[in-house]
Amino acid sequence: MMDFIVTNPLLSALFALVGLSLIFGAILGFASERFKTEGDPITDQICDLLPQTQCGQCGYPGCRPYAEAIASGERINRCPPGGEATIHALANLLDVEPLPLDEEVGQEKPKSYAYIREDECIGCTKCIQACPVDAILGSAKHMHTVITSECTGCDLCVEPCPVDCIDMIEVPVTVNNWHWQNPAKMKDVIATDRGQL
């Protein structure tokens, strides 16, 4: 063995390198199979940041398809329900510049929920078929109603209603969901600037 190495240094070095590359290749191959990541983790992360209203205002049929589109290069400013907060969260995650909300897809609106004026409902079930989260209860020729706690406020049920009996009502501010706001934006001045305020 030693004799071979001493007599053929070039050949033995070659053998050693080939041997090492085979061993490491085998380890890497095993690791890539053993620790394989299921699905696309970045899509999941993006999807978790989206508001899951499933409203389709972004032009994709739900939040997950939009997450997939973002993962493959779509702009991050097409989610009106998420608004600025979602855009910032996405920009932070993807390390891109936050963009203002695309006016083309809609505007950020206050949170709301659907309300069916039950006297006017004719029981056509069209809104039930439109609801992406099964938040509308009812059956054919019977009055429908919205389970408010399940409603995401996507307003997809408003359009199909043939008698226009669905209203989008803003979630009212009550003692339970009121919260403090940050103080009004102050000017960053120091004591000697006080006269210039």
């Binding site: 978790d48 508001p51 899951q52 910032h88 989260v133 006080r194």
Partner: protein, 652 residues
């Protein structure tokens, strides 16, 4: 008698301003014309009303019940009539309205039946806790957590801490209660000792209340230690007091019970004493009326639900002097948007300062990173960092810096040289984080529902597709079956088959016959040979058919000879075609008729035909005018022929 006092980090020393309201003893504020009882005076789920509009209620009667575990019932503070159950402005930082029961008082102040539990020392602790729960007792120090829930802990408790610190400036409600009602406090402590069986009972009190300390020490049993702590804001915070008295630090996000401690406000112990030993639910509390705008500042015993305006009148408040009306103290209180809001279980003070006394906060300036806030923070947080992160909306970093351990005491804002309203930033940030968490929970829920719906729709679609496929398969099968049947029917038709066969045969025959006469000759030779063999065998056997066979052989020999001599004639003869035969016959006939013709017969025949034609022509004039020309032509032709025949006959 003094036990060891530990220390807490941070703290500030704002002017105490407690003397103003200690000039007179506790007074009863009187019964206002109307009481407004909010359904939510405590932390937890709002109570559920038990009365309806128009009901007469007696003092102490339950008017709303617990609506869940962390909830507290409500009782009528005096007798009267329920006139409304509606949204009214309540004592809340938001200034919003909330559901309230409105009682018009009748002034008689008639109690309902009170059932004291005088034998509490022989009762099960759970009975006592249930009585405390039914009395609607919620922490009266400020948070309003239902006491029964706190006392029903299943964790081992070795220390009962009673909070008499009252560190917030201006407020003296607890101080005056400790001075005047020390015996009731001790009665309440006795019940709590029976309930919790703690190894030690520590009553913490600040050293700026000597009268109260003296009063308590006069009545305190030996196992209740009155611990005097140095005056410092915010020693009265629950976690801070526990740390001061026991040296134990409540873990981040944990409860005092996690370190074996239960902490109650001294006013709560009085409420417990009244609920158990007198059978009186929590319907009133002691509230401090103070501030320079009050002509008669002091402490009043006030019925819950009493409008603040009633107390302002009682304390002879000068409306024109009040800069702003604060519920609570100057550090942690909030400005009231509406003077008609009712007093609730946690309202310990109404502060009506003049503008000079409590000027509006000067405009905030830039943070100069002096770090005084970090020194003031009793929770050892980094207020400056929290401030920057709040402004930037960095929720992750806020939580890493333990924003939720902030007790919102206001020590940092108080000490800030730039007058930055730090606590407001933290409150807003906390609310944003809670909101974000709630939104995330809702989003996750919506996602699950959406995915469940998608899965359902897909399943239905697949089922439909499977049904369609099954139907298509069945239809195809049926179609195949009918095709096989018709094919069989077609092939089994014997007539058709016979026609086919005959057709094929005829075609084959004609082609063979048409081929050549050589074949015909060969055929005849073959038949002749066969006939000769038959004849030979018949002769040898001596058959009677020999002459016939001989005749057949002769006939065949003759045919063969003819065929050999004239192949075409043989062919013609061999042809069995009737058409050909008919033609031949017709030709032969014509040749025959052409030769021996009888002119007279001919003329007679023609005359007869002419007569028939003329008859037809006459008929056609009436019935078929369109064919008239054709008949006329026919008649002319026959006349010509007749003339020709007559001429010929005449010639011959």
């Amino acid at each position: 008698m003094n036990s060891r006092v530990f220390s807490i980090p941070g703290g500030v020393h704002p002017p105490e301003n407690k003397r103003q309201s200690l000039q007179r003893p506790i007074e009863f504020a009187g019964i206002p014309e109307q009481l407004v009882i909010p359904l939510s005076m405590h932390i937890g789920v709002p109570a559920k009303p038990l009365v309806t509009i128009g009901d007469r209620v007696l003092k102490g009667q339950r008017i709303a019940t617990c609506n869940g575990l962390v909830s507290a019932p409500l009782h009528a503070p005096t007798s009267g009539q329920v006139t409304a159950i509606e949204d009214r402005p309540i004592a809340h930082s938001s200034g919003l309205t909330a559901p309230c029961i409105v009682i018009d008082t009748d002034g008689s102040d008639t109690w309902c039946e009170r059932i004291p539990m005088s034998d509490w020392a022989s009762r099960e602790p759970s009975d006592i806790i249930e009585r405390i729960r039914q009395a609607g007792i919620a922490g009266m120090g400020g948070a309003g957590f239902p006491s029964a829930v706190k006392l029903a802990t299943d964790k081992p408790i070795d220390t009962l801490v009673l909070n008499g610190v009252e560190c917030e400036p201006y407020i003296t409600a607890d101080q005056i209660v400790m001075t005047e009602r020390a015996d009731q406090i001790m009665a309440g402590i006795a019940i709590l000792q029976y309930l919790l069986k703690p190894q030690q009972v520590l009553l913490g009190i600040e050293d700026n209340k000597p009268e109260a300390i003296a009063a308590l020490r006069a009545v305190a049993p030996t196992d209740v230690k009155i611990v005097v702590v140095p005056t410092k804001y915010p020693s009265g915070g629950e976690k801070q007091l526990i740390q001061l008295l026991t040296g134990r630090e409540v873990p981040s996000g944990g409860l005092p019970a996690d370190v074996g401690v239960i902490c109650l406000n001294i006013a709560t112990t009085i409420a417990i004493h009244r609920a158990i030993e007198l059978g009186e639910p929590l319907i009133s509390r002691i509230t401090t009326l103070t501030g320079e705008a009050f002509a008669k500042p002091g402490n009043v015993e006030v019925l819950l639900g009493t409008p603040v305006t009633h107390l302002l009148a009682h304390g002879e408040c000068h409306d024109n002097l009040v800069s702003r009306l604060i519920m609570g103290g100057p550090m942690m209180g909030f400005t009231l948007a509406d003077r008609h809001v009712p007093i609730v279980k946690t309202s310990n003070c109404i502060l009506a300062p003049t503008r000079a006394e409590l000027p509006p906060p000067p405009p905030a300036q830039a943070c100069i990173r002096c770090g005084i806030c970090a020194e003031a923070c009793p929770a050892s947080l980094l207020p400056q960092q929290l401030y920057w992160f709040s402004r930037a909306g960095e929720h992750d970093k806020l939580q890493q810096h333990h924003l939720f351990d902030c007790i919102e005491c206001g020590a940092c804002s108080y000490s800030c040289p730039s007058n930055i309203p730090l606590v407001q930033y933290y409150r807003a940030a906390k609310a944003e984080i809670r909101q974000a968490e709630a939104d995330a929970r809702k989003a996750e829920h919506a996602k699950q529902r959406f995915e469940a719906r998608q899965a359902r729709l897909q399943r239905l679609e697949e089922e439909k597709a499977a049904q369609r496929a099954a139907r298509a398969e069945a239809a195809k099968k049926r179609a195949e079956e009918t095709a096989v049947v018709t094919a069989q029917a077609a092939t089994s038709d014997p007539i058709q088959a016979a026609i086919e066969r005959a057709k094929a045969k005829r075609e084959g025959q004609t082609s063979i016959e048409a081929n050549s006469s050589v074949d015909q000759v060969a055929k005849l030779e073959k038949r002749l040979t066969a006939a000769k063999i038959k004849l030979a065998s018949a002769e040898s056997a001596g058959s009677d058919k020999v002459p016939q066979l001989q005749e057949a052989v002769d006939k065949l020999s003759q045919q063969l000879a003819e065929a050999k001599a004239n192949p075409d004639a043989a062919k013609a003869a061999a042809m069995a075609d009737p058409v050909q035969a008919a033609i031949a016959r017709a030709q032969a006939k014509r040749a025959g008729t052409a030769e021996p013709s009888n002119p007279t017969d001919e003329i007679a025949k023609l005359e007869k035909r002419l007569a028939t034609a003329k008859e037809k022509l006459a008929m056609a004039v009436d019935s078929a005018p369109d064919k008239l020309a054709a008949f006329q032509a026919g008649v002319d032709k026959l006349e010509e022929k007749l003339a020709a025949a007559k001429a010929e006959a005449g010639v011959s």
